[in-house]
């Protein structure tokens, strides 16, 4: 039959679509860093092990952007909303002194419930500012954080490990997870091959989440979300309830963001409260853009690729810059990459709009 796809052409098209300028620049930069690290005789195996942990640690937060992107709600600059839900969930688990896997799972469950509620409200607000969701999301995040700062200082938690040591009132900025679920996923089913340590449990968790998203966007609601993101009027003519579809996407994004911060925190070892969530949206957004998403549609693959590239660079710049340059340069490079990529993506999106 004449309309069957020719395989070879499909592959070249995929290649053209997948490899884009920012990925190229970042990959070259990464290769240079690896070469330098190797020349400086750093422990490559350890760096590789760490890069895998970093991938999942940040990757879940990056994946949380996908549902909102696909629904046409845009890049989720309001990521702190979901993050705060997750933090609250973990605080609850720690407060009730739930430890180990039980503690982690309960933290996830609490986060799920809190984020679903927060996501619902967040989604309602975003539906009212259609077309300006990204800037509105930024400011929802900005205004939610001071409100929560207030909350953290007043919340009547009882566990002394969480409270300020002096005075015993209000939560500490950093709550150690040492006695609860520190590295619980990182150390689950680690496979050792010589110097290499593959955190199989962690990767499996990440893969499951990726599969969930892949499956979800092939279900009926998922396809409705994608269609709404691509052409709202079309979806409306096909009988889709636009507001409800967008709301669903925002809730799912927020819930995954809550899960994401739980995964991040168990790797990091401390629950970081107060102003910390503020700066977490940008590296995540940067990562998905490096992965090749244009900020209109995103795939799981893009999230994984982007996170790995960005986090590996973060990981390598620290030791390399420490040995070769002044240490302060690391932070500068990080910020430059993170914000520069977001700017680049916005530029690309604008030019595409012009072409039409």
């Amino acid at each position: 039959m004449p309309w069957r796809c020719q395989g070879k052409q499909g592959w070249t098209m995929m290649f053209n679509n997948l490899i884009k300028l920012p990925q190229l620049i970042i990959s070259v930069f990464l290769l240079v860093l690896i070469a330098v690290a190797w020349l400086l005789q750093m422990d490559m195996a350890t760096l590789f092990n760490e890069s895998l942990v970093k991938l999942v640690m940040n990757g879940v937060l990056v994946m949380s952007l996908i549902p909102m992107l696909n629904a046409g709600v845009g890049l989720n600059f309001g990521l702190p909303v979901g993050i705060i839900g997750g933090l609250l969930g973990m605080c609850l688990a720690v407060n009730f002194r739930m430890t180990g896997f039980y503690g982690f799972c309960m933290a996830l469950l609490f986060s799920l419930a809190i984020c679903a509620a927060l996501g619902f409200i967040y989604g309602l607000i975003l539906n009212r500012v259609k077309g300006r969701e990204e800037i509105a999301g930024t400011f929802i995040g900005f205004s939610f954080i001071p409100f929560m700062n207030f909350f953290w200082t007043l919340v009547p938690f009882q566990n002394r490990e969480m409270l300020y040591p002096i005075g015993g009132q209000g939560l500490r900025p950093k709550i150690s997870l040492e006695n609860y679920f520190n590295h619980i996923l990182d150390n689950f089913c680690v496979i050792r091959l010589g110097d290499l340590e593959i955190p199989a449990g962690l990767l499996a968790f990440f893969a499951l989440l990726g599969l969930f998203l892949y499956w979800y966007f092939h279900t009926k609601v998922g396809r409705a979300i994608i269609a709404t993101g691509e052409n709202e009027a079309f979806s409306k003519l096909s009988g889709i309830n636009i507001s409800r579809t967008r709301l669903t996407a925002v809730i799912i994004s927020t819930v995954i963001a809550g899960v994401g911060i739980c995964v991040y925190t168990q790797s990091y070892g401390f629950i970081q409260l107060y102003d910390e969530p503020l700066s977490m949206a940008f590296p995540a957004i940067s990562a998905i853009l490096i992965g090749g998403s244009t900020g209109k549609r995103a795939f799981v693959f893009e999230a994984v690729l982007g996170t790995y590239l960005l986090q590996s660079i973060y990981l390598l710049t620290v030791p390399v810059a420490n040995q070769l340059l002044i240490p302060e340069l690391t932070e500068i490079l990080r910020s430059f990459i993170t914000y520069g990529i977001i700017l680049y993506a916005l530029l690309v999106r604008e030019t595409r709009r012009d072409c039409r």
């Binding site: 279900t219 009926k220 009027a233 003519l237 096909s238």
Partner: protein, 527 residues
Amino acid sequence: MENILQISHLNKSYNGIPALKNVNLSVRAGEIHGLVGANGSGKTTLMNILFGQPVIHETGGYQGEIAFAGRRIEFKNCSQAISCGIGMVHQEFALIPDLTVAENIKLGREHTLAFTDRLLGRQFSYIDNRHDRASSLQALRKLGIELDPDIKIMDLSINLKQFVEIAREIDRTDLRLLILDEPTAVLSQDNSWMLLEILREMSGRGIGILFISHRLEEIQAVCDRVSVLRDGELVARYEKNHIHINQLARDMIGHSVIKAAAGKRKIEARPLITFRKFSVAMPGEEIKNLDLNVYEGEIIGLTSLPGHGKLALGYGMMGLYPVAGEVWFNNERIVRMDAMDNIVKGIYALPDDRQGLGILADQSLENNIVFTANQAKNMFSRSSLFPFLSMLDHRRTVPHVEKMVQDFDIKCASFKQKVRELSGGNQQKVCIARALTAEPRLLFVAEPTRGVDISAREKILSMLIEINRTRNMTIVFASSELDELQRVCDRIAVMVQGKIFKILSPDSPEVDFALALSGETGMDDDV
């Protein structure tokens, strides 16, 4: 006369698929050169090359030589083409929706205040809005259109947008070559003839015109020469007085077409849908207090001049615009216009704005065709505990899509191909395939043959007749093509100012239709 445009040995391909093969073409100053071809024959690609659209450059440029006014040119963007004196009227409009009519028409050529000109230079000069409004009003009047130049483009109906697009080019004084890509596709016949008059007058002033149209009678009437493109090759060229419509049609598709026509019959069934004092607030196409019965199993035509409401009925039924009044479907009153409810009840509307509302451009043919049926009626779903989480059953979609592709003769590389990559006519076929897949009892179609070549048009019309006869699907067919309505419909309702003015039989003489369209009461022979 000198050649203002000379194209020699032009080749262009997209991703290795040739779109133009060795095209040689010339346009003389003061000539109207017609260009005809079926959908996907490469007309739009040729226009894009001539106007320096970035898409050409991005996809690897072209081979061959183009000379404009004796000088070799290779445009990298549209502004280079514009500064050379080339103008283009686009098939898909190139207007800025947030600006007003006057601002769009005068964009880049604004009148400025002489004082600030001297003070700040031309680039930073203060725009003289009064002058701009006046001269855009003049350009619109030339087209016979009375339109407030302060309205924003996004509030206009599609045919008025086309006028603004044309007015923008007419208003230019430095124009040497004007390219028109199907300018009459969205216009009514009267308006088209008016446009042709203007083109003739412009060519009299020495402007070369390259005119693309699917309406062959227009080509025959107005062109000095006509070239025929087929599958990217120039297959024929005719001088004036040797242009014959049948010959052109045969050249375009490589064989002759059989015109679709429905057998005449009289439908006296019960009404399937009844409108009472029905109003739709669609900007530029309002329906006000419409009363109409549509009988089960008939094809009823809706026609009107642009802006008189024929397009709004389907949109109103899908809840896209606010409505008022009563609607009875199948003896049951529809209280709330909810697209999902209505699709489930068996009502579906195909939009006239294909690009904007009709397709998911970045998704595959397959997804497009099954989308509505799957979402609204859960067809093609794998069984699942929760229907909203069910996946598509490709074992059922694939044969269905294959059948649709074959029945409608949709030209595509694969049914996984993105709809964006199909030509306009094939996109329209995908739209109709999607509507049929949802199996409605009552189908509203609006301008289904707009921008579609003759063979595809006849295919679409005969498909409409066939589904009406075999599946007993009632069709409300809104179109400005009277000839099509007369061939397909059982009754034709003429609308004036948002109301049904008269319902005529398709056999009524042309003059009755002309009278009714302009709102004049002729002899009383209502059907």
